[in-house]
Subunit: 422 residues, 2 copies
Amino acid sequence: MSNVKVTTLSNGLRIAVDAMPEVESASLGIWVACGTRHESAELNGMAHMLEHMAFKGTKTRSARLIAEEIENVGGSLNAYTGREITAYHASVLKEDVGLGVEMVSDILRNSVFDPDELQRERGVILQEIGQALDTPDDLIFDQFQETALPGQPLGRPVLGTADSVETIGRDDLFAFLARHYTASNMVMSAAGRVEHDQIVELAEKHFGSVPRTPANAHIPEPINYIGGDSREIRTLEQAHLVMGCQGIGYRDPDYYATAIYSTLFGGGMSSRLFQRIREERGLVYGIHCFNAAYADGGLFGIYAGTGEDDLAELVPAVCEEFATVADTLTEQELIRARNQIKAGTLMALESSGARCEQAARHLLIHNRPIPYEEVVARIEAVDQAAVRRVALRLLKSKLTIAALGPIDDLESIEKIAARLAA
Amino acid sequence: MSNVKVTTLSNGLRIAVDAMPEVESASLGIWVACGTRHESAELNGMAHMLEHMAFKGTKTRSARLIAEEIENVGGSLNAYTGREITAYHASVLKEDVGLGVEMVSDILRNSVFDPDELQRERGVILQEIGQALDTPDDLIFDQFQETALPGQPLGRPVLGTADSVETIGRDDLFAFLARHYTASNMVMSAAGRVEHDQIVELAEKHFGSVPRTPANAHIPEPINYIGGDSREIRTLEQAHLVMGCQGIGYRDPDYYATAIYSTLFGGGMSSRLFQRIREERGLVYGIHCFNAAYADGGLFGIYAGTGEDDLAELVPAVCEEFATVADTLTEQELIRARNQIKAGTLMALESSGARCEQAARHLLIHNRPIPYEEVVARIEAVDQAAVRRVALRLLKSKLTIAALGPIDDLESIEKIAARLAA
């Protein structure tokens, strides 16, 4: 069972260690409370570009050497950028934990952002943007985010745009790094074949001199759900649709009830959306719902992809399901969703990567690790009334529609909203 | 460390059990030596449709009950169809292992293929085909497969086509099931919190009466690499390109040398393709190579996605890398690739899902589990001469090109082949 130990260095850097003595390898990394929502409009994509440039050379290592040194020992070094969190993490065998920490430290603290490398990396990111634009069931989620949260950092795409990627310069990257990659803004996490004291010692050595963050330095613009309607007609086999509304944030008292709601409404193959839309009607291959949670709020959405001719049947069917959860919820569905979340949480404990990431996220979001027993207790505490409350909160929020593909016949947002109000 | 025990039932069904007493859950399932290459052209997509229909109701369970019963206990039941293997597998907590085995057995042995369910499921599969057609970096691999292996079962898409999906009927499914889902054509595998005797007992109970397979009953049409050139102009941001050739099969003496070759040529971020094409030139976001291995041969390919304007630089650069591996290979690259494969194999041992699948595949392909120590020994035994031999085998094979997107300016296959011959 998970037993995360937390230590805070004198500069405020927090360290989470989840030892799994039974395995041969370890996952470790740095999670930074920084992402797309900390960017200006002009420099959209900066958090992501910084994450790319961290791999492009330090004072003592070329880009090639970074790749070679970690792969020489069969390890891997990876990173991702989200809207609130950026992560740099490594998977290594037990004897290479020290190298892993040192390399994560080197790319975060000693990167040089060579101008030629920067110019080439812009090209790579433009290719990444091109790939996302060519993948409808990727693109539709960015379109939804932007429509729900227009004109604000949290609504903008993680990758930025072709224009902003050209605009971001070397000095911008250094400024962003200095501002956000500070000690109390970062968490170091390690899980697997590691020991608490070993990791604390490595963290002290490699991150002990990172400057502390001024208190409340980086409170981003609060989420401001607006909602709206965005449609792009494109010649495709499928119409890709996200319909959604204001969701529920990490710190919301209804957060766990929302997890239950999402699971029973559109989580697995016994969920309402899967059973009613795919199994009973054969209208889709992929359908699910999601609650994208942030510190101060969230976005809830339902994704479906369907053929042009099936859109007219799909939309009323999905609306009917969304509109009726609160009134038709059964105790059996609630119990099943609880069991799905509890078992999923327990199974995730078998992976050092999942445990490392979970401990880091808990520290960043809740300032402490949440023990498995507490997750279970919170899930057990969700009752029908709480799920109903969530269902009604979602339903009462203003609708957002994002649609892409052969969608000429998609009915108006007013008509769809009226179906939900009925 | 992995310690797979194998037992064979009197009907020929083989059972692999890999006990991991330290975990709380288990992965289990049935792997069948049957896939797209066992289909006729007219009924292309049948293996996949059968896999879908297995979830659509048995003599005692409706489709909904199948989904609900496994998710009631927080488990999951899933399946996938490949070109040679179809798998049905469950993840469950330790106390639900019996239920998991019983449900896999029920959907494989007692499915009723209700005609109304079949008609609806055709709709779902047509949506799945539509989604694949909308995803260029999915579609391009089917296009490559079909161009390399035209007019043969192994070249056809797993999902089938809109026409074939309409053609396949209920009787076809029953006949295919009776023909291929026989005892010596299947492997039961379980890993995680399971015990050998428990799994053998469950297998005997639920699969003990499955008929034996006549010897050599289902030898499919041998792979016949032809090669060719296939181009589809489409308005996209990126040109998606796979260039490749005859690859190396599972049972080929060069199989492990090919794994080393693929890793150092286009496996990780220190690989040649990643370093030279992405890092040094900034021409792509995604680039990698693959060796799709089958029982009697394989397909080797290099995937890259790039903007229309960069295609003219990309193609010669990739050709140069592909053409020069044999002459420029270093010992350091070989050592690194060995370490990557060894560490990856060791890390996979930490996942019950990976261990369950690996044991099943080893039994189907090699008729015995391959111990970790043997994988390591085989990887250690690969020397520079072996990797060079693979590099030259691949290079001497006739070229196949598949290209999709804004590819007007893509040079002729003759010109590309000449670059590789130079």
